[in-house]
Symmetry: D2
Subunit: 333 residues, 4 copies
C-alpha cells in the first residue's frame, strides 16, 4: 500500500508512525509518502487521520507500477538529456566495456562526439567471474572518466560492483550503473536510494521481472525517483549466444511499470555479429535508450572482446537506427 | 560431410554406395548428393572415384549451413510468393489459432484479403497439453481451409500434430507447419523430407538452436529443400510472459544458416498487449516473415484466447510495420 | 470433473451423453467414467440422472491426482513384477541405450540375469537429434528383444519414437516407453490409451510437471490405467552435466499424483561418473524404480557412449543400493 | 597456473614478482603460492629461478580443482567439528530461516541440542527481494546468536547479505555464509579471502558450476583455504517447486573439486513436504553436510514460512538419515 500523508505533519510523528506501522517512507516536496507491504489491504487505523490518500497495490511492485502512477517517469541527466517522460527520446549510450587506458578512453570519447552520442559508458570495477581475469582500474578509471567528461562535455555512466566502492562511483558518475550481478545488493541499492542521481539498474540474468522491478523499489522507496531499468539478457539453456535477450519482458515492463527502459544488446548477444540487428529490434520496440559496447580495437580488449563493436561497425549501425526510430515516433539521440 | 557425386552414375550403384558408406542421399537435378556424419573428416575411399566435390562441415548442421551454401534458399509458395532468396520480402501470415467454424474462418480470410495478406494460418489438429481441452476440428477443418483457399485465393499454412495425420495435412496445406511440440517427430520430419512442398518448422520451446537446425536437416537430407525456420519463443524461468522470444537465436540463424526465418511473436508473448511491439522488433531484425494470431473475437476463442489480436489491433499493427520494413530494406507483403 | 456413471446405462446413451457434454470416457468393470475439463465446476444437468458420484478437480491433473484416488496405482508386468500399489518395490531396469547386435544384447541380458534384474531396456527406434547419427535397428531390434525375452525370461521395455511404428512397439514390448522427445505426441499417447499394457512415460526435458502429468492423462482417460512416470532430467542453463535431475519434481509427483515414479539418472547426468551417486539418491527418495543404461563396452556404443556403465560399474553400484533401499523400507528388485 | 615459489624469498621481491607477472598470491606456511590466469600455459621466465614447482590448469577452477590437489580439503569448526578431509562426516546444520526473537532462537537451539546437532543456522541480514518484507534483525540478531552459542555450546553459521556488514558477520559467526544472491559479491568474497575462518559459499540460483567454483577461487586465492560449497537449487522453468535441486551438479563438484559440499534441500524445494525425501537423497549422495530450515511454528515465520520444518518433522527426518548415512559409509553428526 502506498499512503500519501497530509502535508505539515511533524517529522517526529512521521518517524514514529512509520516505525509502528512497518512502513518505509520518503519526503517528496512537502509531503511524506509511506509504503508498506502490498499484502496490507486495509489502511492501518493509526494512520487514518494523517492520510490524504492511499492506494492498495496487487504486488510489491508498487511505486514503479502504472497502477500507482500511469505516466512514465522523467529522468534528467544534466539539463538537456531526458530519459522517459514525454520526451520520446531513444538515447544511445556507448563506450568500451572497461576503462583500460587514458588513450583508449579518449579515442572512445571522440567517437561518441563524432556521432553525437552524449553519454559514454565504461567500467572501472569489473564484476568478473574469475579472480584471475582483469578486474578493472578502480578509482584510477573513475578519474580518467572524469577527464573525458570535462574534455568532451560527455555524461558518464559507470558501474558499481559491490558496496565497498559505492560512494566513489556515486561521486564520479552522472548515472550510477548497478550491474546484473549486483542487482540484489542491498548495500548498493540502499546507498542509491539515498542520493538524488539517476541510477541505471540492470536485470540480473537469473532474475525474474518481479524481482527486477522490486529491486528498483528498494531505490524508489528511499526517495530516489530516478531509476532506469535495463534489460541485458537472461540465462537460458541456449549457449550459442551468451544470453537470451528478453524482449517479451521488455513488453511487460513497458505495459506495467512507469520506469524508462534501456536495452543492452551487446551483453545479451555476446558476439559482435548480432548486435546491430538486435539494436534495430530494440529501437523498434520504442524503448528509451540503448547501451552498446564499442572498443577502438575489440580484439585486444581486456574484457568482453567478442561482443564489442569497432567504430566502423558502431557508426554504420548508428546510422541505420535513425529511420527506425522515426518510424516508431522516437527521437534518436 | 556433403558429397556431390558425378552425374550419370547408375541408381543401383548409388544405392549400394550410400548403404556401404552410411550416407543419406537425394537427387537434385541429375546429381546425387550424399551426406554422412560431420564427424567423418576424410572422403571414404570407396566414394573417391564417384565424387565430383565434397565439403567437410564442422557440425551436423550441414545442408542448412552457410558454410555449404552461402546464399539464402528461396522458397516459393505458388508462383508469386517468395520467402528468402533475393526477394527481400517480409511476408506476414495471419489467421486464428484454430479453425473453429466456417464463419469464423471466412471472416478471418476476409480480413487477410482486406489487408493484402496472402497466406492464412489456422490449426486443425491442436497440440494441446490437456486431453480435456479443445483438440481441433481435424479433417473437417482442413476442408474448411480448402474452402477459403478457393474462395479468396489465399495460400494456407496449417499444422501437423503427429504422424497419424501427416498425409492429410500434406495434401491440404500449401505450407506444412511442424509445431514446436513436434519438432523432434521423425515420423513427420521424414514424411516431409519426401515431398516437395514448403515446410515451416517451429523451434521446440525446449530445443537448442543446434537441435532446431538439425531437425531441418532431417527434411533437407531427404531432398526437400523448402524449409523455413520459425522462432516462437523458448521456455525459461520467466513466467510473466508465456515464453521468451529468442532474437539472439534469430541473429545466430541469420548468420550461420541458409534458411529463411519467420518469427511468431504471438506464441512467444502469450498476451495480445505485447505482440505489436514484438512484431515491429521482428521486422526490424530483417526477417523473412511473421506469423500473427488473429481472431474475430479473441475472448471466445477456443484456444490461445489471451494472445490473439482482434482485427483492429492487427490492422493498426500491420500499418505500423511498413515504414520499419522500408527502413531495413524489406518489402512487407 | 470426473464423473462415475451408474452401472447398466446403455452404450448408445453413453456415447451420446459423452459427445453432448464434451466428455472423454472409458469403461472400468461395468461402470463408465466420464471426464471433462477441470474448468467445469458444476455437474452438467443432462448427466445428473445418470451420475453415481462426481469429483471436481482443481486442474487438468485429474485421474492421476491423489485428490481423485489417494492410493498409488499398482502396475503389473506379467504376474510377478509389481510397480507401485502396496508393493514397496524399487525395481531396477537396465540394458544398453540401443540394441546394436544379437551378441551385444545377449551379453547384456546375461548381466541382468546374473544380478537378478528382471526387466531389460534397449532402444530400437532412437530419437536422435541428427539425421546423420545411428537411428536404431528398428523392427529387427524388436525381434532381437523378443529373443532375449524368450531365452532368459526377462521382461522388455523399449521406446516408441513416433506414431509410425507405435503398433510394432506395442506388440513387442512388455512396457511401452514413451521417450522425452515424444511426450506430447498424441498419436502415441492415444494409441497407448487404447491398450491395456503398462506404459512408461518420460518427462520431456522442456516440459513442466503439469504438462507431464497431463500427458499421462491422455493415456489414463482412454482407460489404460497402467502408467508409470519417469523423470530423466530437465534442460537448464547448466552444461557441465547433460541435464538437471529434477528430484524436487519427484517429491511433487509423489505428493500429488497416484502414479508410480521411476527415475533415470543415466540420461540426467550424461556421464558415467555420476550415475551411481544419483542412483543411490534416487533409491533414498523411495521411488518405484530405476532405469540405468549399461553396455558391455561403453566406449564403442553407437549412442550415449559417455553415460553408459560397464558391467563392473553397474554391478558394484547395484550392490550399494540394497542397504539404502532397506533403510527407506523398500524392496530392491 | 599455480606456482609454488621456493621458500625464503624476500617479501618485497615476492610483491614485485606478483605485480609484474599479474599473479594473485598468498603465503602458506613459509611458502608463497602464486596464481595467474589459466590461459597462461608457460611459466613466466621472470619467475623461473624462484619457482619450486608449478601446475598448468585447464580452466580458472584452479586451487579448488582435484587436478591441483586430489584430496578433499579438511575444514575445522572449533576443535571437534570436521567437514571433509578424511572425516567421512555428514554434518547436519539446522535452525530457523531468520532470527526473529530471543525466545524463538532459544527454543531452536534447544532442539539442536536435543538431537545432537552441533551447528545452528539463522539469518540476521535477510536478502529479501522486496523492500517491504521483513529484512532481519541485523546486529541485534548477531548478538542473540552469540547468546545461544555461549549458552548451549553450539557453533553458529549466519549469512552476510552485502559488504556493508561483512565485518560484523565475520566477527560473530563461526562459519560465514555467503548467500546465493551474494555469490558474485567481490566485496564479500575478498573480505572472506583475508580471514582464516570457514566460509560456506552458496551457489547463485542463476550461476553455472564454473562460476560457482570460480567464486570460491576468489576466497582461496587470498589464502583462506576453508571454503565449503553449498548447492541450494537453481532456477529453471519449473515453478511447482521453488527451485530445482541440482544433484547432477553435486556429482560434478564431488568429481572435480577438492572442496567439501553441503546441501540445502529446504531452499531448493521451497515446501516442507519434500524436504525429508530430498534430505535422504542428499545423504545418499555421500555429501559432507546438510542445511535444513526448522522453526518452532513455521506458519508464523517471518520469512520462508512454507519450507521450514517444525521440530517433529525435523526430528523424524533426522532419525531416518542415520541408516542411510551408514549405508554409504558416512558418520551422521
Amino acid at each position: 500500500m502506498i499512503i500519501h500523508l497530509k502535508e505539515g505533519i511533524d517529522d517526529n510523528i512521521v518517524l514514529a508512525l512509520a516505525e509502528q506501522n512497518e512502513c518505509l517512507y520518503y519526503k517528496k516536496n512537502n509531503q511524506y509518502i509511506f509504503i508498506n507491504s502490498s499484502s496490507v489491504k486495509q489502511l492501518p487505523q493509526a494512520l487514518e487521520s494523517y492520510t490524504e490518500s492511499f492506494k492498495v497495490l496487487s504486488s510489491d511492485i508498487q511505486l514503479a507500477s502504472k497502477e500507482y502512477q500511469a505516466e512514465k517517469r522523467e529522468i534528467r541527466v544534466g539539463e538537456e538529456i531526458i530519459f522517459g517522460g514525454n520526451s520520446n527520446n531513444t538515447i544511445v549510450i556507448t563506450g568500451p566495456c572497461s576503462v583500460e587506458s587514458e588513450e583508449q578512453l579518449d579515442i572512445s570519447a571522440q567517437n561518441c562526439v563524432k556521432n553525437g552520442v552524449k553519454i559514454i559508458r565504461a567500467g572501472c570495477y569489473k564484476p568478473r567471474t574469475s579472480p584471475y581475469s582483469f578486474q578493472g582500474l578502480g578509482k584510477e578509471g573513475l578519474i580518467l572518466l572524469d577527464g573525458v567528461r570535462k574534455k568532451y562535455g560527455l555524461k558518464v555512466i559507470t558501474e558499481v560492483r559491490d558496496a565497498t566502492h559505492v560512494e566513489d562511483v556515486i561521486e564520479y558518475a552522472d548515472i550510477i550503473q548497478i550491474g546484473a550481478k549486483a542487482m540484489y545488493d542491498q548495500g548498493i541499492l540502499r546507498a542509491c536510494s539515498e542520493i538524488r542521481k539517476p541510477v541505471l539498474l540492470k536485470r540480473g540474468f537469473g532474475s525474474t521481472l518481479q524481482e527486477f522491478v522490486q529491486a528498483a523499489e528498494f531505490i524508489l522507496s528511499g526517495g530516489n525517483e530516478q531509476v532506469i531499468l535495463c534489460e541485458r539478457g537472461i540465462r537460458t539453456f541456449e549457449t550459442k549466444t551468451r544470453f537470451t535477450f528478453d524482449l517479451c519482458g521488455v513488453a511487460y515492463l513497458k505495459q506495467y511499470t512507469n520506469l524508462p527502459v534501456v536495452l543492452d544488446p551487446s551483453h545479451a548477444m555476446g558476439y559482435a555479429y548480432g548486435v546491430a540487428d538486435l539494436a534495430r529490434a530494440s529501437v523498434a520496440m520504442g524503448v528509451d535508450g540503448l547501451l552498446i559496447e564499442t572498443h577502438p580495437t575489440p580484439k585486444i580488449a581486456k574484457s568482453d572482446a567478442a561482443q564489442q563493436l569497432d567504430f566502423n561497425q558502431f557508426n554504420e549501425m548508428y546510422q541505420s537506427l535513425e529511420p527506425i526510430a522515426k518510424a516508431v515516433g522516437k527521437n534518436l539521440i
